[in-house]
């Protein structure tokens, strides 16, 4: 178990810089406003970090596009839309279409969902829901797998909490916590500035590191005594962090509940996969009797603490830099 955590933590430390960047999301939001039937004016309300000029946007074949101009003639903007150069520099682009009549519609193009089909205006069809599910489940999985801080916190919980049922309750409490705050933040019921929040998330991992040390010294820390309460509380904090990624996509309100549900589902799938992998490795280490020597007992806890403090100071600096 300790052996495993040590290895994972060292790797988590190694992946730190890029993951932090990934979390700040290389997203773009393109707004297409219909000015006359079939003719649109497009502009980037959020420009991707790679620059709008470098985005290789492909519209349906009957459309002529040279931003800011987009003309689709009588057929209108209906058909496949894709971006061919999605990657590390630009993970997702939200296209918001504002028609002359009717509600605005949003489509998200990501590496997981590189082609979207723009549908005619009207009530959402089954195809719309399928597309929404595919996009946001994948986006949720990506978000949790790239969120080294969230995974490190979950790893800390697994470390501290012993016993299958107790661990299940703890992970469930974390899930409930982040689902509640994710929903509240996505619907605008609560709002926390992103940078201080990220610093708090780093601090929550420091807390877990300290709790591990306490446990190793034979003291019963808060997490050991009330694991579900701690997991739920910090789940609330992490959930607001998840909402930041969703909010950046600027979904229309009509589709938000479904998008939220699918995004959360994706986050859960990613988290469950991680937990199962860690549990499988713990089982394997026990089976092989492969554990850290005595002198290395505290190494994983200090690694967790050091990595998260490094994150905390980095994020705190960004708070001060922004003010």
């Amino acid at each position: 178990m300790r052996y495993l955590a040590a290895a994972l933590l060292v790797l988590a430390a190694l992946i730190l810089p890029s993951q932090t960047r990934a979390h700040e999301a290389s997203l773009g939001v393109l707004e297409l406003r219909e000015v006359r039937p079939g003719a649109f004016i497009g502009h980037w309300t959020m420009e991707p970090t790679m620059g709008a000029d470098h985005v290789d946007l492909r519209m349906p074949p009957h459309c002529f596009v040279r931003l800011p101009e987009l003309n689709c003639g009588e057929k209108g903007l209906v058909g496949p839309v894709t971006i061919t150069n999605l990657g590390a520099d630009m993970s997702a682009v939200l296209i918001r279409i504002i028609p002359l009549a009717g509600e605005a519609r949003s489509y998200t193009i990501s590496s997981a969902n590189p082609v979207v089909s723009v549908l005619a205006a009207g009530a959402p069809t089954l195809q719309t829901w399928i597309e929404l599910a595919r996009t946001y489940v994948n986006y949720g999985i990506d978000h949790i797998l790239l969120g080294a801080d969230h995974l490190l916190f979950v790893l800390g919980l697994i470390w501290i909490v012993r016993g299958g049922w107790r661990l299940t309750k703890t992970i469930t409490a974390f899930t409930v916590g982040h689902s509640v705050s994710l929903a509240a933040a996505a619907f605008g019921l609560i709002g926390v500035p992103e940078r201080p929040l990220n610093a708090c998330i780093a601090l929550s991992i420091v807390f877990v590191g300290i709790e591990i040390i306490k446990q190793q010294r034979g003291e019963a820390g808060l997490t050991a005594r009330y694991p579900w309460a701690i997991a739920f509380t910090f789940g609330l904090v992490h959930g607001i962090g998840f909402a930041g990624a969703l909010a950046a996509l600027g979904l229309e309100r009509r589709l938000l509940p479904a998008a939220l549900l699918f995004f959360n589902l994706g986050v859960e799938i990613g988290q469950l996969a991680f937990v199962l992998l860690v549990l499988a490795l713990i089982w394997a280490h026990r089976r092989l009797d492969a554990v850290l020597p005595r002198w290395g007992d505290t190494l994983p806890a200090y690694t967790i603490g050091s990595v998260s403090m490094f994150w905390f100071f980095g994020r705190l600096l960004s708070v001060f830099a922004a003010t």
Partner: protein, 206 residues
């Protein structure tokens, strides 16, 4: 008929391997260089078979002998990645991979008792070769550190799980040597050796 069947199996295996490769590349490009390193071995059938064979062989030898590979194998992969980056990958290594498969399969089939030191040396050599092979797909924009971390992490997880599963499958050391689990492991060794032999043949023929 038998030959046709074998060709069918080989073709199906190649197709399956290509499907994995495609998916792994999609996931990797979407999730960055750490996951690119972790998923890259899935794009090569030789990695899958050789890593699995090494894990099963080590697991079949017992926990005390096999557990060293938890450290040795990922370290070998890292060393191989560095070597592969520095000196490139020799084309003859495809034959070496196949020969390695043959050797591992035969050792497993014969249920040979291998001393810990020799097993570690074998695992390190294998990891060195496969680490170098995985270096071949590093692009100029790939973050080396993240890719290496992902590869080592995948190597650690794969070898640890394979050893533990083999150990659990084999059962207790006190069980009779003719138990069906041990026979199944030896049969698996025979299949691995056969695949290795075929690949050596293909390698030499081409």
């Amino acid at each position: 008929m038998n030959m046709r069947f074998r060709r069918g199996v080989v073709a199906a295996a190649v197709l399956l391997a290509q499907a994995n490769a495609a998916e792994a590349h999609i996931a990797a490009s979407r999730l960055g260089d750490f996951y690119a390193g972790a998923l890259h071995p899935l794009t090569d059938l030789q990695d899958i078979i050789l890593w699995g064979a090494m894990g099963v062989l080590a697991g079949s030898l017992g926990a005390a002998t096999g557990r060293w590979l938890v450290l040795v194998f990922p370290l070998g992969l890292l060393a191989g990645l560095v070597l592969g980056q520095s000196f490139g990958v020799a084309s003859m290594w495809a034959t070496v991979d196949a020969a390695m498969m043959l050797v591992l399969g035969l050792l497993l089939a014969a249920a040979t008792r291998i001393p810990t030191g020799l097993l570690c040396a074998l695992a390190f050599a294998l990891a060195l070769i496969r680490g170098a092979a995985n270096a071949s797909d590093l692009g100029p924009e790939t973050d080396r550190l993240l890719f290496a971390a992902g590869l080592a992490c995948a190597g650690y997880a794969a070898i640890t799980l394979a050893m533990a599963l083999a150990l659990a499958f084999r059962g207790l050391d006190s069980s009779p040597s003719t138990s069906w689990q041990k026979i199944a492991l030896r049969a698996l060794g025979g299949w691995i050796a056969a695949i290795g032999l075929m690949m050596v043949g293909f390698g030499l023929a081409s």
